[in-house]
Structures are given as C-alpha cells and as structure tokens.
Symmetry: C2
C-alpha cells in the first residue's frame, strides 16, 4: 500500500475560519495533514514576511476525533509556510494547499492575496502548491460545493505534479454543485482596482483614510479567469514567481544605457 | 519649454531613510516631486495593503530650500502609492520611483520587497515605474555612486516609456563609480532562501522564532541579475504583474479535470 502524502494546509483568513476547516476535512481524506496557519486574519498581506519581530507558533491540541496536527502562528501566511517546512513538519510536504479563501483571488487580486502568497512561497521551495478561493466574502459562505472540486484538483496535482516554478490559483464561483459548469484552465485577466478612499476625521481631529475600491475588468478575452467565473466555471490559473517580462528584454536592450 | 514631469517618490525603508533622500534629490533635477512614503520601516512587506485599519497621511513642512512636497503615511508601500495617486497628487504622475532600497531586491527578493511592490502597484495603474536598490544594507551606505545611474534610467524611462504591464527592477552593486562596469538588462535569477529559524525562549517561558535565512542561487545563467551584479554591472529586470505561467496552460489542459 502506498504511503499517504504529507499535506501542509494554511490560509490567510486565520486558523479558525470556516474555509480552512473545510479544506482540512477534505485533505484528511487524501493524506496526513499538518495545519500551520495564522492566529488572526491576514487578508491582503501579500507576500509580507516578518523580519523585525519575533514569530510565535503554538501547537493546538485537537482531540482524538481530528486526525490533523494543528499549529497557530503569529506571523503572515508566508511566515507560516516557512515555519512549517523548516521547523514543524518532519519532512518536505508532498503538497501545500492554502485557503479556502473567503472571497475571490482571481486576476490582479493574486498579487495582494495572502492565500496565494502562501502557495507561491511553497512553490519557491519546490513544493506542489495550490491556493483555493470561493467567490463569497461571507463568514457564513457555503463551502460544501467546493469539496469535490478541491479534492479533484488536489488529487490531480499529486498524480501529475506541477511544471517547475508553477503553482495553481483556483477560484470557485458562488454556486451550488449543480450550478458549477466545470473547471477551466485560464490566464489571469488584465484587471485592476480603482481606489476610492473614504476620508474621515478621528475624535482628536486628525484625518484618516479607509481604503476601498472598485474592481475594473477591461479584459474582453474568453480565456481569462474572470470570464470563466462569470460563466459558472471554476478557474485554474497557473501562476509563476519568475516575474521577468521576458518579452520586454529586447525592447529594453534598444535603450541608450 | 516642455512641462516638467510629475514624479512620485516612495520606498519601504521609511521617509527618513538615506536612500529615499538621495532619490528625492536626483528626481528634483528631473521634475516636480511628490514624496508619499511610509512613516516607519516596511521592509519585507511585499504587496501588503491595509484593509482592516485606518491609514493616516500627513503633510510634512519641508522648508523653502526643498522643492518637493512630502507626505508620510502610516500604511504599507502599496498603500502609499494608492493614497498618493488617488488623494495627494493633482494628476496621475508621469513616473513613480521607489527606493533607493537599503539592500538587494534581485532575483526572488522581488516578491518580498516593499520597494518593488510599490513600483508594481504604480504599474497596475498604468504609471511608468522603477524600483531602485543598492546592494548595501547599511544605514550609512554610500548612495552617491547611484545618482548618475538612477538619473539615467529615470530619464530613459520618461523618454521611451515602458512596455505595457512592465515595471523595472534596478539593482546597483556596492561599488564606487569607477568600479561599476555598466548597465545590463537581465532576467530574474532562479534563486531562493534557505531559511534558518533562530528559536528562543522569552522571559515568560514561551518559545518564539526569528526568521533568518541563507540566499541560495543555483542559476548558472550569464543573463541573470545575480550574474550581472557579481560582475559589477547594474541589473535591470523588466518585471510583470501578469503572473500567468502561459507556457503551463497546455500541460494543465491535458489533466483529467
């Protein structure tokens, strides 16, 4: 009988978020699960790491009904992956899954997302990694329709491996199981956030801002994650951490430098 | 006579760091300068944004000897760019420069770097943007040899524009002016951090960790930023924020999903 894969589970919504609890349950059906996740919400932390502060990591007693090992970490999602692989896990995991995020990480959101940055960090260590997100920000979001999709993509990743330097960004539309039309491999849509700052004055008379924004997608392509999600498909975008714009090198070599 | 370009200056080491002071001085030679930078060090913040907290932004009176307008911001480098463009500047700037960072942002460091994330954020808004870093972590680093390089690359960027969806990651070796051999357009080296956590116990008996690490470059290419820097060249890497691994889409379409 084959050895069960070792799976690292993390997220950015914090270790008690419903999304990660669903992900843990699905991963328990596949392999031996270690959870190392933030002790508090870390949404929008991108690829931040803690370099000027101590990081705490506590083992959580989970009871005999829960097969997974759990650790909560005071750091960012990327800190969690670094700590997990270097200090908590007995060996390099066979898979790292992050999420299930409460809310979309499609298109440009990938660069702000702690969920995806955790997956990318695992990718830099040569670990097959996937970030999962459900297009529902609510704490009460229904993660049940995501279960089958998450399991299928995780199993295929374990079976096939991932191309070198690539991790997966999976977004799941807010639909019931019968409403989801399938899974599409996509490119990241060219979209951006149009910020709208909400300016207020605090009780001491000092102005401050809340960051809000409107998502603008001007990409008309039918091969993008935004298009797939709008059509009711799960989007899978292969994401790389070689950020070199190789196509631009020639043009820059024409500059007078 | 042509209108002087409007230039946004930011960084991640904080508004009082010597690196940004040098950058401001150089930009004053080129255009009309607005500085919106963090009020405290924000190294390693990656593309983090502040979504669950208020952000303060204070105008700093600089005196008549300093032509630039300055604002310190309580948020991350990416927050600074968002606030600057949407609330502080009278129009979209012609250029955004970030740095000069105290320390390297070559190869994989680009994904952790607040300096580069600020430039990337400006890029998502369609603003030509450049992150500058000097390979010297010291507060007393000598930024003088960087002046000519920074000015030259900024002027070329204003003149030529940048390809769509591309920003520049410029790293400068720690050499005097006569030691710098020139400027090379490069790709990001395939390198990674091998973490070494320093485990300690606090006075209350709780274990904690300090993140440390060793930089490992296994990329033997002579077209990488690491190679160029080792040879005494300034490296210029075109960086994109479309993270899609386009080359991997075909392979994933072969999966049984």
């Amino acid at each position: 009988m084959e050895k069960r894969p070792l799976i690292l589970v993390t997220n950015d919504d914090g270790i008690n978020a419903p999304g990660i609890r669903t992900l843990i349950e699905v991963m328990n059906e596949i392999g031996e699960v270690y959870v190392v996740a933030p002790d508090s919400p870390q949404s929008g932390m991108g690829h931040a790491i803690t370099i000027n502060d101590a990081v705490y990591c506590n083992h959580i007693k989970t009871g005999s009904d829960k097969p997974q090992m759990e650790y909560s970490c005071s750091g960012t999602p990327v800190d969690c992956v670094k700590l997990a692989v270097n200090e908590v896990l007995k060996r390099k995991p066979d898979l790292c899954v992050s999420g299930i995020n409460h809310g979309s990480n499609s298109s440009i959101n990938v660069i702000y997302s702690g969920t995806m940055s955790a997956a990318v960090e695992a990718g830099t260590m040569g670990i097959p990694a996937i970030g999962f997100s459900l297009l529902d920000f609510s704490h009460e979001a229904d993660f049940n329709p995501s279960r089958k999709i998450v399991k299928e993509i995780a199993l295929q990743t374990l079976k096939n491996g991932l191309p070198e330097g690539v991790v997966l960004n999976v977004n799941i539309p807010k639909l019931n199981s019968s409403g989801i039309r399938g899974i599409k491999v996509c490119r990241q849509a060219k979209a951006y956030w149009q910020e709208k700052f909400d300016k207020r004055t605090n009780p001491l008379g000092r102005d401050y801002y809340w960051l809000t924004g409107e998502f603008v997608n001007e990409d008309k392509g039918t091969d993008t994650d935004e298009w797939a999600l709008e059509q009711g498909y799960v989007s899978v975008v292969p994401v790389q951490f070689d950020l070199t714009a190789h196509h631009a090198i020639n043009e820059l070599n024409g500059w007078d430098l």
